[in-house]
């Protein structure tokens, strides 16, 4: 969706046009779902968070500032919703960890060998990401898995570039140490 067309669609949606809003949902649903799924590791929970995110967007569309990209606003919203969700379920930490392990993508039996490897690697990376602090995890998900710009990630996480770099440093160091350890163990 081009920027002028997006702005027109937002203006229409602000007046209560649900068709225009549906167009916005269709454009950004994949992006929002992807972030939610990286945080939760569960399809159903991710869908619930996506739903909550778009309902919030609909309610607060009046406050939308056109100087700010809608993608960034949605990214910020879904990151906050996901972090709140993880915080609220922290009490059930142990249970969650088991759930996360259960919900990590199960390799498809008909997948090719490379697909199987990628799927296992993804499961391992997500398991390691779950052990990061919320900020490190958010920085890692948005920058390394979603491959968003530094400025976009800084906007979404409301942090300075220096702070983002610091969080990325610890996240990547954790990934490197644990992945190397994993592969060394596998080779032995």
């Amino acid at each position: 969706m081009s920027e002028p067309f997006e702005l027109k669609t937002i203006e229409k949606a602000k007046t209560g046009d649900q068709q225009a809003f549906r167009l916005l949902v269709e454009t950004y649903q994949r992006f929002v779902y992807s972030i939610a799924f990286r945080f939760t590791g569960d399809e159903v929970e991710a869908e619930d968070l996506v739903q909550e995110c778009f309902v919030r967007l609909w309610k607060n569309l009046d406050r939308y500032n056109s100087n700010y990209k809608l993608k960034c606003w949605l990214g910020k919203m879904i990151t906050n919703i996901s972090l709140d969700f993880l915080k609220s379920s922290r009490k059930q930490n142990e249970k969650n960890r088991t759930m996360m392990d259960d919900h990590l993508p199960v390799p498809n039996p008909v997948s090719s060998e490379s697909e199987l490897e990628t799927s296992e690697l993804y499961a391992l990376i997500m398991k390691l990401a779950n052990k990061l602090t919320p900020k490190q995890r958010a920085a890692f998900i948005l920058r390394d898995l979603e491959v968003l710009d530094v400025t976009e990630v800084c906007d979404m996480l409301s942090m300075s570039a220096g702070n983002l770099k610091s969080n990325l440093y610890y996240a990547r160091l954790h990934m490197k140490e644990n992945l190397l350890k994993h592969y060394k163990t596998e080779l032995q």
Partner: protein, 180 residues
């Protein structure tokens, strides 16, 4: 640039400016351990990049979009019902009448408070207390004398005209009747 600085920067190489990258490249050209670390980090970054496409939706899920739109329609309807209820005449009448009653009660309260404040007692302090004591004693005396009078009249009624003596039984009975 020294090794510890370079080691830290290697992990965020992609986020560095061109001049910072140039500094690291120059250091790595002469430092084998930093070069080794750089290669390790790069291989991990490549692995992460490889899996970054996993777990993404291939397109927008129509069922999820429908669910979101249904939720929004539901919220819209609820919002309209609430606003209609608030906008109805009945609601306004109740609201305004309650407000009027509250205001009237508030005014009455203030009138009462100010009236008691603006009317200072005519007799204050020890004089007031003295006056009150005098009034009380007068009243008590009056009450006492009335009692005495009545008792005297009762005695007179119970006196035997012949012996000029008081009939105690008659007196007792009369006192009992009058609750003395």
């Amino acid at each position: 640039m020294n090794c510890p600085e370079c080691e830290g920067a290697i992990f965020i190489y992609r986020e560095l400016s061109d001049s910072e990258k140039q500094e690291i490249n120059e250091h790595m050209a002469t430092c084998a351990s930093c070069r080794k670390l750089f290669n390790e980090v790069e291989s991990i970054n490549q692995l992460v990049a490889k899996v970054s496409q996993t777990g993404k939706q291939s397109g927008h899920s129509v069922s999820l979009t429908d669910k979101i739109m249904a939720e929004i329609s539901k919220k819209e309807k609820t919002g309209k019902v609430v606003s209609l209820q608030h906008g109805s005449t009945g609601f306004s009448v109740t609201r305004y009448s309650l407000a009027a009653v509250s205001a009237a009660m508030l005014i009455m309260f203030f009138i009462e408070v100010f009236a008691s404040v603006s009317e200072p007692p005519t007799i204050q302090g020890p004089i007031y207390r003295l006056q009150s004591a005098v009034l009380n004693s007068d009243e008590l005396r009056k009450k006492f004398s009335t009692r005495k009078e009545r008792k005297r009249s009762l005695l007179a009624e119970c006196v035997n005209p012949l012996s000029k003596q008081t009939d105690q039984a008659c007196l007792k009975e009369k006192l009992k009747k009058l609750n003395f």
